[in-house]
Symmetry: C2
DNA sequence: CTGTTAGCGCATTCAA
DNA sequence: TTGAATGCGCTAACAG
């Protein structure tokens, strides 16, 4: 039953010519006669011949495959980034192997090994929130396989990376709220384990400073990103004697949970309590009372840029050029969404 | 600069033994002397020897790779499905190559070829909305590479598929609305080109019939899924002399656009005009006035089940078992979300 | 213009 | 217990 895939050998035998002639004919090598070439192509077509890339990979030591490791595909941010990666890969005749770490460092390690076994030409990584070092990427680097980190970039030197700076937008968010008259601005941040750069908080603090507002530490609380965690964080803020009139949340998911919780408490969003967030997910634009603003982090572009950088590094490697560590920083943008105080 | 990777050949030469001995030693073959085995393993360790999987894939004619082709990753439905696929692949020691057709049949074709070039052991496909036949999958099927279609399943015989039946839920949606007192129920469907089974419409029609309501064709309109397309569809419905009091939309994205448009027209959602939709996207649960209900289609499960079926087919193929065409049908569920008339 | 052949790294069969 | 030889499919150097 199992029909064997046709090979150039089979084509050669059927046509009573040599395999190299077939190979050259299929590659439009100039030294092959038109007649022969046509014959070969015709038969190849008929047999549905498809070159066996595993043989070619094996010979060429190149797979035209890149690996992509990221926390998960459920978050729109990562699926948009993946979309950008795949589009760039397609353009460049590469294809992407997908792996989700689910924020487990063990699974991340296993995936790195798997990618290596599959001999990917390069790797794109957005690290799990539990990843604090890059030891498990060392074996790739040893074999000279380029690795580009994106978005969730580990805070270590000598890596290639693409990320979106949130610092300026974070300060801008403070300016924006203060112009609206807010003086008590809360901030719900992520868990401490997240080992990436904390530009949101830095922007928050410097934004306050710039506007000559004294920072009150009780206005900064943490959520583990679960609905319950966010509710607890909100409870902390709402229990303050001197409540905030505006809240900045780590991302739109946190904002959604927080706003839903606040609605239950009969507070009017963007009236009693204003919200500003990060991610600018398309969905927020469909809310009746969306956050006042959200910081766009361009996930699709981040993915696309990271992929481009990776392909550049792969090319450079082939031509034995040197490649200093490259760090692409995009700028986020504060996008006004809702209306209100 | 490029460090050449060590091979068993190199180990053999250094130890003055044969490559087969090295190979066997590394695989703990019982016939190898302990002394030799230890020597080999020690040297392999020192040289950071890693077996070249591309050579093994090549030889074994198996890549432990599956292909996934779907319209895009921007839709949460497909990213959730991909998440399910990747999780099952990881469990089974497989890894997934991703490709987005962007609803272009040409890109879909190219991706099929690419997947075949990469010698995937099997393929999962959710077809583009412009795909009306499965000719471009024939070459895979011919060579006995299993293909499982999921969600967007072509309406042709003799294929493996996993999908979620919407028929019963669609009727249930009608029952649900009629119980609420609605008699004029509109339906916004997709473009005609979508060549998949139209269970939504069938359920709609039979639901009406069952409730002894005469079908009014002017209540069924089409959208191309763009915001403008949906607005036009809404205009058609709202221009009717005898307006609908409830509307069923093809999916939540259409519902979101429709509801936003309706709000602009100062109509009260779920009061002046009720909505029921498909997909049950998490986002709808955060809306202040969500659709009354949405049909859950279990994208993660669909992906996982499709992957499971594919692995089963791959196994069967290896053991030369027969495999009749298998069609897994999940049942959708009408999930009540909002309150209102 | 076309054929012959070596070799990529590995597992494996046959010999010894 | 070990070695020699083979072949997987393809490309490319070399030979005619």
């Amino acid at each position: 039953m199992e029909k064997k895939l046709p090979t150039i050998k089979e084509i050669a035998q059927r046509l009573n010519i040599s395999v190299s002639t077939v190979s050259r004919a299929l590659h439009d090598h100039p030294s092959i006669g038109l007649r022969t070439k046509m014959q070969v192509k015709k038969l190849a077509e008929e047999l549905h011949y498809v070159p066996n890339q595993t043989a070619i990979f094996f010979k060429q030591r190149k797979t035209y495959t890149i690996g992509v490791i990221l926390p998960n595909l459920r978050e729109e941010f990562f699926s948009l980034a993946t979309s950008g990666i795949e589009d760039k890969a397609f353009e460049n005749n590469y294809i992407a192997l997908m792996g989700q770490s689910h924020d487990s460092i063990d699974r991340e390690k296993t995936l790195v090994e798997t990618m290596q076994k599959h001999r990917v030409d390069g790797l794109l990584v957005s690290i799990s929130k539990n990843t604090s070092n890059v030891d498990h990427f060392q074996s790739l680097l040893q074999f000279n396989i380029p690795v580009v980190f994106f978005d969730r970039v580990p805070d270590v030197p000598n890596i290639h990376s693409v990320w979106c700076s949130l610092y300026h937008s974070s300060m801008e968010a403070i300016d924006f709220l203060i112009k609206k008259g807010h003086k008590r601005i809360g901030y719900i941040q992520g868990p401490d384990t997240l080992s990436i750069k904390n530009e949101r908080l830095q922007g928050y603090l410097n934004g306050l400073k710039k506007n000559k507002i004294v920072h009150d530490p009780s206005l900064v609380v943490s959520s583990d990103f679960s609905a319950e965690g966010t509710q607890k964080a909100m409870d902390q803020l709402l229990a303050l004697k001197n409540k905030p009139t505006a809240i900045i949340t780590f991302n739109d998911y946190v904002a959604l949970d927080a706003m839903q919780y606040v609605r239950k408490k009969k507070l009017k969003i963007n009236k009693d309590l204003a919200f500003v967030s990060y991610a600018n997910l398309p969905i927020t634009h469909y809310l009746e009372t969306p956050p006042l603003a959200s910081v766009e982090q361009f996930p699709y572009d981040q993915g696309a840029r990271a992929a481009e950088l990776l392909f550049k590094l792969i090319d450079q490697k082939e031509s034995s050029e040197s490649h200093p560590f490259e760090n692409v920083v995009l700028n986020s943008e504060l996008v006004i969404i809702g209306q209100g105080k």
